[in-house]
Symmetry: C2
Subunit: 215 residues, 2 copies
DNA sequence: CAACACCAAACAATCGTTTGTTTCGATTTG
DNA sequence: CAAATCGAAACAAACGATTGTTTGGTGTTG
């Protein structure tokens, strides 16, 4: 209904905008969550990511999320002051996870095309993973006013691809910005047609890149 | 909230599922709407297309649409039995409009690449037009269960691109299905970053195709 | 007159959110 | 060591607003 950047319906004390202590940064995530993950807050983020990613922001209610975490709706507000704040936290988590995955994937490669391919595979695997944390990255096609924080997070993430593409030996006359946006678009769009059991995300990405790449 | 393919909240008489008499097919749309357009139904579709396209299905309420048409919410149900039916009508209209635009664009061209370029430009212009009827075509990233009719319409539209791509003289080893989905994805995604006043849709599309096309 | 297009008003359901209370483990204190 | 205290986390219940939709009446028009 209303754009995300707007004020909440019932007046909430704006002063209570507590700036979290930089988030309890857990060590770059060895696997998934081996540690007891007593952090219930993180459970909320995980479930919300799954729901936002599969049903969209407007299509996911706080009650849906609460039910998935098995707490009552009101209890969510112990962890997050509003639905929008929760979304921002989810988005930030998804960005950091994807960033970690992409960074790890390109770490030990030097060839520019190999680095781009590794990054794209990691990115797309995150998007298409059925227990996806990353689908939320593209869950807001139509939300016109999305929070500044989210835009900033997205830009910081996409800048990684900007740098990877800057290293490519492309023929002159190629617009690298359009190259980046086109590539990201074709990867994002896979979520609308990808079916598990068919081609793997890695195969899809390799085929996409083989179309773009010139010998 | 609930997937579009499901039953409505308050029990509606399912028998009244009136299959419209094939829709009052207006002559392939000379320009936009020069004729008096007494058809109020079409006004509803136009406004709904604009709103669905810019705010998404869940983000658009029947009251929003009614206000845009300047009638009361309940009056919408004189034209459409449900919100979902309205969406299907809007989607069908958008497909037919886009189909007309693409068909006209490729009519007098023979070179395969020129035909594809013309089609892509027409497609993307429809998507990015600020008074867009076509943005609704991609307004459902996350809706898991979308009506069968919509899927069928989308497939019929995309089959045009399938044929255009089949004609291309591509190097062997290129997966033309991935080619099509990647190209459609990169075009669809422009809606997330396109800004009026910057590069025109035509320029964007030409740059995209110049990346893909090999000399 | 009959069909159409609409208004006016309401319906139950669900929305995001608030409020007040309870539970319970850890910490502090007598 | 035991009792008192505390805060986090949850429950229980409700708030007003908004959702899609229904019903019944009204004016207009061919």
């Amino acid at each position: 209904m209303k754009p995300m950047g707007s004020k909440s319906r019932t007046a909430r004390p704006m002063a209570k905008r507590k700036t979290r202590p930089a988030k309890p940064v857990r060590p770059p995530a060895a696997k998934k969550q081996i540690e007891p993950l007593d952090d219930r807050r993180q459970v909320v983020i995980n479930e919300a990511a799954r729901l936002f990613g599969s049903k969209g922001y407007e299509g996911t209610s706080m009650r849906d999320i609460a039910a998935a975490v098995k707490i009552l709706p009101g209890s969510l507000y112990h962890h997050f002051p509003s639905k929008e704040d929760l979304f921002v936290a989810v988005y930030a988590f998804a960005v950091s996870q994807s960033l970690d995955a992409v960074t790890a994937a390109i770490a030990n490669r030097t060839d520019p095309w190999a680095r781009l391919e590794a990054a794209c595979i990691a990115h797309t695997q995150g998007l298409l993973d059925t227990n996806s944390y990353a689908a939320v990255l593209i869950s807001h096609l139509s939300v016109s006013n999305l929070p500044n924080q989210v835009v900033a997070l997205r830009d910081s993430y996409e800048s990684v691809f900007k740098e990877l593409i800057a290293e490519l030996p492309l023929p002159p006359g190629i617009d690298r910005r359009i190259f980046r946006l086109g590539l990201l678009g074709s990867m994002s769009w896979t979520i609308t047609w990808y079916r598990p059991g068919g081609e793997t995300p890695a195969t899809i990405v390799r085929k996409l890149l083989s179309i773009i790449r010139r010998e």
